[in-house]
């Protein structure tokens, strides 16, 4: 019963989708203000989702069943990520939940890829192949930056990572932690599919890419996954790197800072090609990740 409450209401589904949609609104609003526009009202994203749920769902003729199943798989795993993170901040955690989160995050990308391929649309499969290459490029540096934190705090548990940072200082305020933060920030930027890395659903060239055939509530679920991820990955960065004092005011403050950083990077950059992305992640970012790992091993 308690777990169901965690999953469905407080750190889970309702809370994370609410704060995720609100964060997406902050994203749209700041983007609009940066372009000297006014921007949408604060409940715009909620209306969008509600409207999409009421619309007709079109299932392509050659699509198979995973076209419908995969968005739900992605939704469940994104809610699980939000739940595990929220419960970890509240103090309940189990050994290895960092690895479970890593696995669930990968599962979301897999659900995107399979959902797109199942729609039997050539442009969607183009988007899926781009998403696959994106996953291959960012996953290795992301794992290395996580390993840096794990070695630094000597634990695989979110609660212990937070306890370590409370006892000493936030991970970001050391050399290795700072480099790991840079790597993690950029990898999560790519995981969210924000602008320099949004090749998989580039609207101007491949018309929505992986989402091209989704309509009605399937599209609503995909938008919801994006929003929940936007919220929970921000929280993940805070837990890993800025976990010194997580009282409500400080948590909100840190959350907003990370959010605005994401939005500014998103607005300042043009879209990269997929080969440029792979070179970027396997070159400079990988070297930075290895550097942070070595610095941790020498104790900096």
């Amino acid at each position: 019963m308690k777990f169901l409450f965690y999953f469905l209401v407080f750190p889970g589904f309702l809370f994370s989708s609410f704060s995720g949609l609100l964060s997406s609104w902050i994203d749209r609003k700041i983007t609009a203000r940066l372009q000297y526009r006014v921007g949408p009202r604060w409940y715009q994203n909620f209306i969008d989702i509600a409207k999409l749920i009421y619309k007709e769902v079109i299932i392509p003729e050659n699509a198979n069943s995973s076209f419908i199943i995969m968005p739900f798989l992605g939704l469940i795993s994104s809610i699980l990520v939000a739940t595990i993170l929220g419960v970890g901040i509240l103090g309940y955690s189990f050994v290895g939940d960092v690895i479970v989160i890593l696995y669930l995050l990968l599962l979301i990308s897999v659900s995107y890829i399979f959902g797109a391929v199942a729609s039997s649309n050539p442009i969607a499969s183009l988007g899926a192949s781009r998403e696959m290459k994106l996953v291959l490029s960012y996953e290795l540096p992301f794992i290395i930056s996580l390993i840096t934190i794990i070695i630094k705090t000597r634990s695989l548990q979110l609660a212990d990572i937070l306890k370590f940072q409370n006892y000493f200082k936030s991970n970001i305020f050391s050399f290795s932690g700072f480099f790991a933060f840079l790597v993690g920030f950029i990898c999560i930027h790519a995981k969210l599919g924000l602008v320099p890395f949004d090749v998989s659903e580039a609207e101007q060239e491949i018309m929505g890419g992986i989402l091209i055939e989704h309509s009605g509530f399937l599209l609503a679920i995909n938008k919801l996954i994006k929003s929940i991820l936007f919220y929970s990955l921000n929280l993940f960065l805070i837990v890993l790197f800025l976990g010194k004092d997580l009282s409500f005011i400080f948590l909100l403050f840190k959350y907003l800072i990370i959010l605005v950083l994401f939005i500014l990077v998103k607005n300042a950059n043009p879209r990269l090609r997929i080969d440029q992305i792979i070179k970027f992640f396997w070159g400079p970012i990988f070297i930075l990740a290895i550097l942070s790992l070595l610095l941790t091993l020498f104790g900096y």
Partner: protein, 140 residues
């Protein structure tokens, strides 16, 4: 179907039906800082499957006639159709032309007409306001 929600977040698909591109430039003007229509939740989307409204510009000819019908069938219902520009409204000087078979509203049902060559962005916003009023009245 809850059309009231639809009028508060209209996602627009830009269906260019052999236009001369003047209307398209004016449509893009709607998204720029001066007439920012994202205030009302209006966004351009890339795929017809996501669209709530088709924004049709230009005169339908023998080639685009079938394609615009196909696009309308691909969109998830309810889908509104907005005819932008005098060409899409009534073919003006191309009415007797050898390559224009029929008006746009003979092919797909058009909900609102925005005349002008090209119509000003203000005219388009006025058209959208009329469309929203019309939808809300039909609902009652």
């Amino acid at each position: 179907m809850n059309l009231k929600l639809l009028t508060k977040s209209i996602w627009v698909f830009h269906a260019a039906c052999s236009p001369c591109n003047n209307c398209d430039i004016e449509i893009l003007d709607l998204l720029t800082p001066r007439h920012d229509v994202e205030r009302f939740g209006i966004v351009l989307v890339g795929s017809v499957r996501h669209a709530d409204a088709l924004l049709v510009t230009g005169v339908p000819n023998y080639k685009t006639k079938d394609r615009i019908l196909q696009l309308y069938k691909q969109a998830s219902q309810p889908c509104l159709v907005i005819a932008v520009g005098s060409c899409a409204c009534g073919r003006i000087m191309f009415r007797e032309s050898y390559n224009s078979p029929c008006d746009l509203d003979k092919i797909i049902p058009v909900d609102i007409y925005v005349p002008g060559c090209p119509p000003k962005p203000e005219a388009m916003i006025a058209g959208i306001v009329k469309l929203i009023k019309k939808v809300n009245e039909n609902r009652k």
